[in-house]
């Protein structure tokens, strides 16, 4: 008899296990299936900094949360509806996040005395009544996987490794996911190891069949596709979108892409991705350190490349001196900072927005650098092109300020039409019959000429010493220095003229409170604002992509509202800037725990402010 199917409008699933359990892979695959099915989705991978923390321990727990729905969603979900716990550590670490009444699928095979002891369970939680408030599905995942793979010739240990695919198969059955993609993926991933491919596929199928036949799962669920704007979609993570954006910027400018980088979490995937694309003329240089990474990039920029360096906060600290040099040389350079928890080494795999003031001010002297921040994984593509546009047009280093959540999180992405991308003209200087002035400025942009080696008649020397206006010769003249400092600042300020007006979302038009954000908090602020509006209180929302310079209409906008509320994953860094620039009494909502805001928490915090504002 066919099992009943229940309709749901949204589900949050969390796969949790040991770092070695392959939870990220299972999560990624479930995400791909879900994307292809046509749900809207948002993901939150969460893993330890250690590659293999001691097996079975709490610090070794790795998880992957996925939120999917039949309508538009903007966050990876506050709390799971279903927790897949592959061992006692995963159960213990994730149970506090699981609301009562929700489902737990637990791998009973891993609940032996040793594993229980490792996480301080005196008795097996699966035996007593401590889990009675949840719906627990006890599944011997490991032994069933081994059983399913008997006859494949794989030893028990190797067979057991495929248990993540068994879990994926079971969940895929539960939520009616299409499976072709996963089968194709496994065949491709293990193309060189056909036995392993076959084992993983067999485990995946066994998981699916188990769901269909066992009595432990009485119903399955259906979440209908979400209505989306017409187009061709794919699922994409922030680091991948950023890499593609850089390659697209290279094509739009006709300049070869040069990346100088040193491996660092969570930015390394950009280095890995770009290294694959030499066929597009992309040169990647893995340097001896962060300083050499940006140094080589700056050298390549001098040579006429679209130059990029990628790093995270600690790397920015090391690159600061070279960024100052780039400010002084006025050469185009895109600096990607994929923020992570700090200070110092901090929380390498967690997310924060704590580098804003570092990139804004973290250099000696008056050294203004434009800042662009993407607001979602897919938006990293457009933000990368925007950063390149500013760098090339204004001959300046530019920060692209992403973060760990955007980098690893993913969402459906409407694949852009390449013909619709902006033209980025490098506009190299050419020799004329006038003497060449390396620091003569374009009257509109204040940009200086970009004269690349190989151009006869434009031989010139530039450096980090203060330069005379126009000629670029060394100058210690006080008035000239004052002029040059102001010119460099004015040039960055002028970028505001090229920034489109801000888009305020205020459906009722009656809001007295403006919720402002920047970067990766866009989705969750959006969700929280919707919830507040559903509770009957109007609220306006605006999100900043440009953090230096600010859009020219920002000041007026802020003064139009009774209150401005600013949620940030830091202790109020943008708030400090807004207060200084616009004398606005910004109300901050701050969280610095290495995780994105949860929509419910933000809703409550907003509600609290709104009540105080008398709205």
């Amino acid at each position: 008899m066919a099992k009943p199917v229940q309709q749901l409008d949204r589900v949050v699933i969390r796969f949790a296990g040991d770092s070695g359990d392959g939870m990220q892979l299972a999560g990624d695959q479930f995400t791909s299936e879900t994307a292809v099915f046509g749900n809207d989705l948002s993901t939150l991978p969460n893993f330890p900094a250690e590659i293999r923390a001691p097996a079975g321990t709490l610090p070794g727990v790795s998880s992957f949360q996925l939120h999917f729905a039949d309508h538009e969603i903007t966050t990876p979900g506050d709390a799971p509806d279903v927790l897949v716990a592959m061992n006692p550590a995963a159960l213990k670490a994730n149970l506090p996040d699981l609301p009562v009444g929700r489902d737990i699928i637990v791998n009973t095979d891993e609940f032996g005395a040793r594993n229980l002891a490792k996480v301080g369970y005196a008795t097996n939680p699966l035996d007593g009544d401590s889990l009675d408030s949840w719906r627990v599905h006890k599944v011997p995942l490991t032994s069933m996987t081994i059983e399913a793979l008997a006859g494949t010739g794989l030893g028990k240990k190797d067979a057991a490794r495929a248990r993540n695919m068994f879990a994926l198969g079971l969940l895929s059955w539960m939520y009616h996911r299409p499976t072709d993609g996963t089968l194709r993926f496994l065949e491709k991933k293990f193309a060189k190891l056909p036995q392993v491919a076959a084992a993983n596929i067999a485990a995946f199928r066994a998981g699916w069949n188990y769901g269909e036949t066992t009595e432990s799962f009485a119903v399955s669920y259906e979440v209908k596709p979400a209505p989306m704007r017409p187009g061709v979609y794919r699922n994409i993570s922030g680091n991948l979108a950023l890499s593609y954006g850089l390659i697209a910027a290279s094509r739009q400018s006709g300049l070869p892409l040069f990346l100088g980088a040193y491996p660092i979490t969570p930015a390394s995937d950009i280095l890995h991705e770009l290294s694959k694309h030499k066929g597009f003329g992309v040169r990647t240089f893995q340097a001896e350190d962060e300083i050499a990474g940006i140094g080589a990039a700056l050298g390549a920029a001098f040579g006429g490349a679209l130059a990029v360096t990628t790093t995270s906060g600690p790397g920015i600290a090391l690159k600061s001196e070279t960024i100052g040099l780039a400010v002084s040389l006025e050469l185009p350079l895109v600096i990607c900072d994929i923020q992570r928890g700090g200070p110092s080494t901090g929380l390498p795999t967690k997310t924060e927005q704590t580098d804003l003031l570092q990139v804004m001010f973290g250099r000696n002297g008056e050294a203004p650098v434009p800042i662009v921040a993407p607001q979602s994984p897919g938006d990293c593509f457009d933000a990368a092109i925007e950063a390149a546009r500013i760098a090339l047009t204004y001959r300046t280093p530019v920060f692209l300020l992403s973060d760990g959540y955007l980098a690893n999180g993913s969402e459906p992405w409407s694949i852009p039409d390449l013909d619709g991308l902006p033209e980025l003209a490098p506009d190299f200087a050419v020799a004329t019959d006038r003497p060449f002035l390396p620091y003569e400025r374009d009257p509109a942009t204040l940009a200086r000429p970009w004269a690349i080696p190989g151009t006869a008649g434009l031989e010139h020397r530039i450096g980090g010493l203060e330069k005379a206006d126009e000629t670029g010769e060394i100058s210690y003249d006080p008035a000239n220095h004052d002029l040059m400092v102001r010119l460099r600042q004015s040039k960055v300020d002028r970028i505001a003229q090229s920034i489109p007006p801000l888009l305020v979302d205020d459906p009722s038009g009656a809001a007295g409170v403006l919720v402002l954000g920047w970067g990766s908090t866009h989705g969750v602020i959006d969700a929280a604002c919707h919830r507040v509006r559903r509770r009957g209180v109007p609220v306006a929302q605006v999100h900043l992509r440009h953090l230096n310079p600010f859009p020219s209409d920002l000041g007026d906008l802020l003064h139009r509202y009774d209150r401005v509320v600013l949620p940030e994953l830091n202790l109020g860094q943008l708030a400090l800037l807004l207060r200084a620039c616009y004398l606005v009494d910004v109300v901050s909502i701050n969280q610095v725990n290495g995780m994105p805001f949860r929509a419910a928490d933000l809703e409550e915090a907003l509600w609290h402010v709104l009540q105080g504002a008398g709205t």
Binding site: V36, F258, F302, G303, L325, R461, G464
Partner: protein, 361 residues
Amino acid sequence: MSIDLGSPALSGVPKTDVAQRPKDFKTDQEVRWCPGCGDYVILAAVQGFLPELGLRRENIVFVSGIGCSSRFPYYLDTYGMHSIHGRAPAIATGIATAREDLSVWVVTGDGDALSIGGNHLIHALRRNVNLTILLFNNRIYGLTKGQYSPTSEAGKVTKSTPMGSVDHPFNPVSLALGAEATFVARTIDSDRKHLTAVLAAAAAHRGTSLVEIYQNCPIFNDGAFDAIKDRDTKADAIIPLELGEPIRFGAPAEDGGGSRGLALDAQTGGVRVVDVAEVGVEALLVHDATRDDPTTAFAISRLTDAGYLRQSPIGIFRQVDRPTYDDQARAQLSTARTAAPGEQADRLGALIGGGDTWTVV
């Protein structure tokens, strides 16, 4: 040594068809080194030598760091960048990797290259990027007014070491050889002929060439190289390295060659100074910089005084072929390009539109 204009190092760099003179490489900038500084002689030698390369001026780039020597690019009418302390090799690596058609030079000093920039130097050398690095070694910090440097002899009394420094110095040649350098040479600011010959060989070498130039700083470390410059002492102080010749120095022996020489030391595996009359010319070490094994080159480099300089081998220590980083990177690029046929635009569309996709109508 002569300059081979068809040299592999410069094969990608466009040649000029107009005759160049040293004056063409001078800029209108006032040279700001102290009177008597060794840098003047080196500048004149480089300006005198560049026309011989016959390259287009616009295809030559000089990159420097910070320090007295690093003002060098301002005085050469080529493309140039006066960068930040220690980072010139990294910046030059980017230029050379991005542009095959440029002849890229780094001008640096002992503080710039061996202290703050030590890491970039050794990594440029091991990668073998197509660069020529001129390391002006005056064994002192000049621009910051006289602190001891990483090549200053131990015990040196300076403003920052009133009781004498307790740092053991680097030997730049040993360091470079240890860092897998493919071309390592040492020369002296005051010997223009030797300097020019070494520069020519360095420029012709495809890969990173490191040339240590002993450079006198009359203001803060005057006389540091007197022993190897003084008429009376230099025969004993300089151990000349000439390709294919037995290594001899010191007062002339009966056959006109030096009375002392170098021989392999079976006991230590190194080299030692021997009396030619005692061991005979046949027992002397014949210099071969092209030997792939750097052991002997390193052993020779150890004969440099670590203290006040009374003895130093001068010449080309090592000159071997090894594929360069930038050439190999470019080769990978063209392999990848050949393997990816079709229009770039179409391929980009296929890339970003790849993976599992779905269509919403």
